[in-house]
């Protein structure tokens, strides 16, 4: 268990490098939207969901009420339904005391990192819990640094805006293990670009994440339905 925790903390470092600057950017925006330093940090501590925190701060700045912000958060985070389902088989039969921290701190980044090398994650809840807790601490720290010293840091300098994208690119490249994966990736990318203007609240991510794998399954089925005995639902 001690070894799992140490390795988990170490594996989180690329995420920390991305979260600190993005957390700082969030901290700056939250202060500008009228949140106190305490509130800025508390939102990161309690909610821990990057995209929806940025959106919530923007909505608060334009005076939007609590309930619409919560509903928007639900829409933005509905994409985690799919991620949680995909990672679930690796933690089958885990007790609730592990499932709660495993899922409460599941983010796009920790999910992608975990799925890049599932051998490290399978059946090792403490590894992923430690990885995610480290990411969470860096997110809260970044938020507080931004809230306190935001005026001194220019979050658009030193390539900071590209940190998270670079992390995602590497994780994506690592996980393209077959032509079918490549096809799914290209289809998802094309769908995300086409839906981005039409679907609000990051729902284009949900749409691309549901449709692209279905197309991938259909392609596999067409090529070799003898080797891959799966039935495909084309459309529901």
């Amino acid at each position: 268990m001690g070894r799992d925790i140490r390795e988990g903390v170490k594996a989180a470092l690329p995420i920390v490098l991305g979260y600190l600057p993005v957390g700082i950017a969030y901290g700056v925006l939250a202060r500008a939207a009228g949140l106190s330093t305490m509130e800025t940090g508390a939102m990161s501590f309690i909610v821990f969901a990057g995209a929806s925190q940025f959106i919530a701060v923007g909505m608060l700045a334009s005076g939007i009420a609590t309930l619409p912000i919560i509903l928007t958060t639900l829409a933005v985070n509905s994409r985690h339904l799919l991620m949680s389902s995909a990672i679930a088989p690796h933690f089958k039969g885990q007790p609730l005391k592990n499932l709660i921290p495993l899922t409460a701190q599941l983010t796009d980044e920790s999910f992608a990192l975990a799925m890049a090398d599932t051998a490290k994650v399978s059946g090792r809840p403490h590894y992923l819990i430690a990885l995610q807790a480290t990411a969470w601490l860096s997110w809260v720290s970044g938020s507080l640094i931004g809230a306190l010293f935001g005026s001194l840091i220019d979050s658009a300098s030193f390539g900071i805006p590209f940190a998270m994208t670079a992390l995602f690119i590497c994780l994506l490249v690592i996980q393209i293990k077959s032509r079918a994966h490549l096809a799914v990736a290209l289809i998802a990318g094309a769908l995300a670009l086409s839906f981005k203007g039409a679907l609000p609240n990051n729902l284009y991510i949900v749409a691309a994440t549901i449709i692209a794998p279905l197309v991938g399954l259909w392609l596999i089925q067409k090529r070799a339905h003898v080797e891959v005995p799966v039935e495909v639902e084309v459309e529901d």
Binding site: I46, I69, S85, C170, A212, E233
Partner: protein
């Protein structure tokens, strides 16, 4: 801290937690059918791609289009990731290249 803010944060935390928690809590107690497993096998690349492409093909104002700076950086990082498969290196390289291209006014 204002009480209304605390309520907002707790509400946001609840609707953030449920989509993350429910699938794993359910799936860890039932057996997933093979075709659902095959579908889920492709979810990670689909999610990543849906995050990466809009970030690369983004223009000022939130629209979709081609800007040389993110596109070139993405190509360099993609090649590095493919050859070296190092996460930390990819992040640092991406930041350096993006920063350097900013100096050349691309």
């Amino acid at each position: 801290m204002r009480f209304g803010m605390l309520l907002l944060f707790l509400g946001m935390a609840a609707v953030t937690f449920l989509p993350r928690f429910l699938p794993m809590a359910l799936v860890s107690r039932i057996t997933i059918p093979d075709r659902a497993k095959a579908f889920l096998e492709y979810v990670p690349v689909a999610v990543l791609s849906a995050l990466v492409f809009p970030a690369i093909f983004a223009v000022d104002g939130g629209g979709v289009g081609i800007e040389m700076r993110p596109l070139l950086t993405a190509i360099v990082v993609g090649l590095f990731a493919w050859k070296v498969k190092n996460l930390f290196g990819s992040v640092v390289l991406g930041m350096v290249v993006y920063w350097a291209l900013g100096l050349t006014a691309l």
